[in-house]
């Protein structure tokens, strides 16, 4: 139940790009040094981000990476799923055929609900939000300072 280092590095790396301003091309080496992330690892992560279209890569001498969208249009869910793959609390939520409880799994509903909440938080927080929160204290007690509106309960349930 963790966000991996790779996912964390990805967000931090993009945050670094976002701080330079939109369109700016930044080298892996700079991001690596600035955020203290192993360069080769970060390179791999940015390849994923490039494949996902979040970032544009330019090769050659004056190459590097740049954001393809405004920081306000890049959610942390975009980033994390680009790197770690789709968030899935259980296999059955990704591939229903894998669930052994064909007659109605008692847990799928629970896990689905938890998963929805997490995706909700991540999808409501963009790079721009994180930039604005930069002055905020390191370890908030609650969810203070984040754009998580408590009114946002996803209450559309579906028949199936």
């Amino acid at each position: 139940m963790q966000v991996t280092r790779a996912g964390e590095y990805g967000v931090l790396g993009l945050l670094c790009l976002a701080r330079r301003g939109p369109g700016q091309v930044v080298m892996i080496d700079d991001v690596s040094r600035e955020e203290k992330i192993p360069k080769s690892f970060l390179a791999k992560i940015f390849q994923s981000l490039a494949r996902a279209g979040i970032v544009k890569s330019s090769r050659g001498v004056r190459g590097g990476f740049s954001l393809t969208r405004q920081p306000g249009d890049i959610t942390t869910l975009d980033i994390i799923e680009a790197i770690e793959g789709p968030i899935a609390f259980q296999r059955c939520l990704q591939a229903p055929t894998d669930c052994p409880h064909t007659g109605g799994c008692p847990l799928c509903g629970l896990f689905s609900s938890a998963q929805t909440q997490v995706k909700d938080v991540f999808s409501r927080t963009t790079l721009a939000d994180l930039l604005r929160g930069g002055s905020q204290r390191g370890h908030p007690k609650g969810a203070a300072g984040l754009p998580v509106s408590d009114a946002a309960a996803p209450t559309e349930f579906q028949r199936v």
Copy 2:
């Protein structure tokens, strides 16, 4: 970003106990057969649950495990944390000293928020809820009910 097999097995195993009625002593072997969970693995998991006080073990001939509380008083958060340890999206949320961003980590707030949501869902769902078919314990916040998402939802879950 997954609930482990062990955690899932734990909930299923306790659900099995809950179905037998409170106070009933059930053997690992029965639960194992009924839920199709490897016996030795399940034994380990129940040891964790016993250490956490969720379940009482009796050794010897007529031994087995029994719930120490009513199913309505055992949350899935209790169970999962007993087995997997505390839910922590990032190391810094468990041990703030580990966070390298001393001047204010841009991510701790985000992760803390997501983590709170997950723990909220799990802490609002008890064994009794799962027995009833997945509805959650009442909560003033009236937060998200069960599955929102797409085709992954099993057939029996309906709007609550």
